[in-house]
Subunit: 199 residues, 2 copies
Amino acid sequence: MSSIREQNKIKTRRCILDSAVKLFSQKGFEQTSIEELAREAGIGKGTIYSYFETKRDIVKAFCDDQLDFARSELAAKSNPDTPLIEQLMIIFMADFNYVTEHKEFGRVYLHEKIFPKEPLTEEDFQVQNDYFDMLYPIYQRAQELGELRQDLELLHISGHVYAIYLLLLSCWYTGMVPTENIPEAMETMITQTLEGLAP
Amino acid sequence: MSSIREQNKIKTRRCILDSAVKLFSQKGFEQTSIEELAREAGIGKGTIYSYFETKRDIVKAFCDDQLDFARSELAAKSNPDTPLIEQLMIIFMADFNYVTEHKEFGRVYLHEKIFPKEPLTEEDFQVQNDYFDMLYPIYQRAQELGELRQDLELLHISGHVYAIYLLLLSCWYTGMVPTENIPEAMETMITQTLEGLAP
DNA sequence: AGAAAAAATCGACTGCGGTCGGTTATTTTA
DNA sequence: TAAAATAACCGACCGCAGTCGATTTTTTCT
């Protein structure tokens, strides 16, 4: 069993994350100070920094957890025999909806994950690998069913779809594509990628 | 002619940008304080903030200028009768090489441009439009030459290629794809997008 | 159990991004 | 050209992210 110390650490970490979600959602990320967060969590300011290296890491940790959870949910529900485009739409729109509902979190997270200051750590890659682990079987099955070319690497196929997802996220953040147009844009672009741009 | 005041403003702005390039390149963006920058530029700290709203805006202004310049150079050199893939490679690899040589600047700029905090301003869109203005003729010509489907909107075509560019930038920043593999990856993925992922 | 070691907590402190009201330089007016 | 008006400049100041050494809590050793 785990010691008092380990139990407390887990509880404190949870408490910091819960308080962060509450305050960041209420007042925004930049508008919430670490001192405020510490007060809400009932601990000292310094303690927060023994759980997270930076303020942004708090968001990162929270989002990684959420993604992990969301994906396991999706994996359970997914049906490998529906058309590829349907499965992809379900997965990527789920991710997308999450971002639209947590714009502030999403932005900080994307900054850290997509254009990180330092190359990603082992742990960061873990999250990415879990992501591939979820998608690869889907693409592989689609190859078997003749929906995808068999001469392409799964990594590249994943890349194409992910690239479109990134693009639409950016278009949404810049205000170029409004929320309600995203599903249609995503379906159109994924379909076009499958069909090819050349005649 | 312009007044003393206007001339000085232009000179001061230039001076701030030059000092910023020097110091940010030398010591990094975060490691350079605004006070240091002001000292290097020979002006007061407050003055910087009457030219730029935030520290990151300095990078943004610089990069916008550079992009503008780089694109006009490219437009002059480009040959509309070479194969589409060749033209795209020249344009996007030029952008990419610029980023690899100014990693720090690129990262700050991408954060601001790709996942901005607020929807982009009129001026931000201008930079984007200039970008489209450069690419649209290329895609249009490719449609005429039968290299691209004619039933697709130029906006979508642009989007597909740009999406791949974004993806590779991200893969480079995360350390997933090393610099030397980028050209090959870019060519492969653009080609695949043209051909389509489906059999 | 009691002492010693190790780990976790804390808040005063540091440095920096950004602000603001006072000062200086330029332009306009009379 | 002198005075009034306006724009640019400045640096002391504020609030916050992140640090660090002192203090408290838990674990380990004897």
